[in-house]
């Protein structure tokens, strides 16, 4: 295809895209090519080329526009059968050092949490309270950062600085919560301090969250594209919306119960409210994703 005679990028593009069904993707591509051509024309003109010659050169440099369009409209062939093979190819075995380390760190975190709870309930020394919380938020931060730095079968590792950011935010969240929990032993000042630390953690998570980019591996994205519309919530947006409302109600009630029990019965039992909330949440999730009627209906259909 000869296109040296074109001296106007807009006319050239319009003619290159004639006769095609203008999907959103194609329109998007056309606009992208147009803006890039315009940028090249502007650059050539600052070098002293005439407008017409600049357009002709830019179009010439673009290469075969039909080839670009052809690539766009080509439908990717999805072969779900190859997914098992893709998983085997991309399988990443966790490093044993990380697994052992993570288990040990979790044990330390649980021990520190129990110790902290004991100090709160039975009123231990201030040093014990400080030491147990420091251990707790350090382990939380290290575990978060370390886990995010791991390459898994599905995900690439998070860059070092961002992983450290997530770790610091988690550590701050734990620090804030523990500071606020010490209100009964050390007074209201700590609640304010804890609230500020918690706020810092939330701000950190928001900053990281809005700047987070994809870290899934290409193969898992291919699998997700093929199975995208298979789960109940993407098939039935109403069910998804209903589930969202249920979730909000469950957690508001659980949190309210937690606060109420904390003040009346104490911390020794109030956490049961959160556990109960989690149980109800999981049951509702299971009921929403796999409705009881549907399995039976499918079975009768098969008969």
């Amino acid at each position: 295809m000869s296109h040296a005679e074109y001296t106007n990028i807009h006319r050239y593009l319009d003619e290159a895209f004639t006769g095609l069904e203008m999907t959103a993707d194609l329109q998007d591509l056309k606009e992208e090519i147009r803006s890039n051509l315009a940028a090249r024309v502007a650059e050539l003109q600052t070098d002293g080329t005439s407008a017409e010659q600049a357009a002709a050169t830019a179009i010439e440099e673009l290469g075969d526009v039909q080839e670009i369009i052809g690539g766009e409209s080509e439908v990717p062939v999805s072969v779900p059968a190859t997914h098992a093979g893709a998983f085997a190819l991309n399988k990443v075995t966790p490093r044993s050092g990380f697994v052992i380390g993570a288990v040990l760190l979790s044990l330390v975190a649980v021990a520190a949490l129990l110790w902290f709870a004991l100090v709160l309930v039975s009123g231990g020394s201030a040093a014990a309270a400080v030491l147990s919380t420091v251990v707790l938020w350090l382990t939380a931060g290290i575990l978060t950062t370390w886990s995010l730095r791991q390459e898994t079968s599905q995900n690439y590792p998070v860059p070092r600085r961002r992983a450290l950011g997530y770790g610091a935010s988690s550590a701050a969240a734990v620090a804030g919560l523990t500071l606020m929990a010490m209100v009964s032993t050390a007074g209201m000042g700590l609640v304010v301090a804890g609230a500020f630390v918690l706020l810092g953690s939330v701000v950190g998570f928001i900053k990281l969250g809005i700047s987070q980019t994809n870290r899934k591996k290409p193969w898992i994205r291919a699998v997700q594209r093929d199975y995208q519309a298979m789960d109940r919530f993407s098939q039935d947006p109403v069910a998804a919306a209903r589930f969202g409302i249920y979730t909000a109600v469950i957690w508001i009630i659980a949190l309210a119960l937690f606060v109420l029990l904390s003040f009346t019965v104490g911390f020794a039992f109030s956490w049961l409210a959160l556990l109960g909330g989690l149980v109800v949440f999981m049951v509702v999730l299971a009921r929403m994703l796999f409705p009881a009627g549907e399995g039976a209906a499918q079975q009768t259909k098969q008969k």
């Binding site: 002293g48 440099e61 290469g63 526009v65 990717p76 994809n214 870290r215 290409p218």
Partner: protein, 125 residues
Amino acid sequence: MASNPVDKQPQSEPFAADLLRGHTDTIVLGVLRDAQRYGFEIYKTIRDATGGLYEIKEATLYATYRRLVKDGLVEASWGDETQGGRRKYYRITDAGRAVYRKNVQDWTATQNIINKLLNVKGGTP
């Protein structure tokens, strides 16, 4: 330098263009490492980085962007320019950075092996 590729014959290039083309994805990821850029900016950065010695065909670049976006290695978004047309910007993702780092490592290793096999001393012929 006003480059005029019309009189440039791709066959007479003093380097293995095929080999270079095989690394287009990694080259684009490398260009996007420090900042988000739009198509012509990417093209210009690559062209200027080699002093005009090597130009990737823009048609090849469009295919590369599409593949990188599909694989989640870069993300595309339209910017809002106050004057002139809008531009489609590409920015690298965490997955893209990991792939870039791995490809550079692979290339360095391959380069070493080829240098050894071709008996090149040190790495710079």
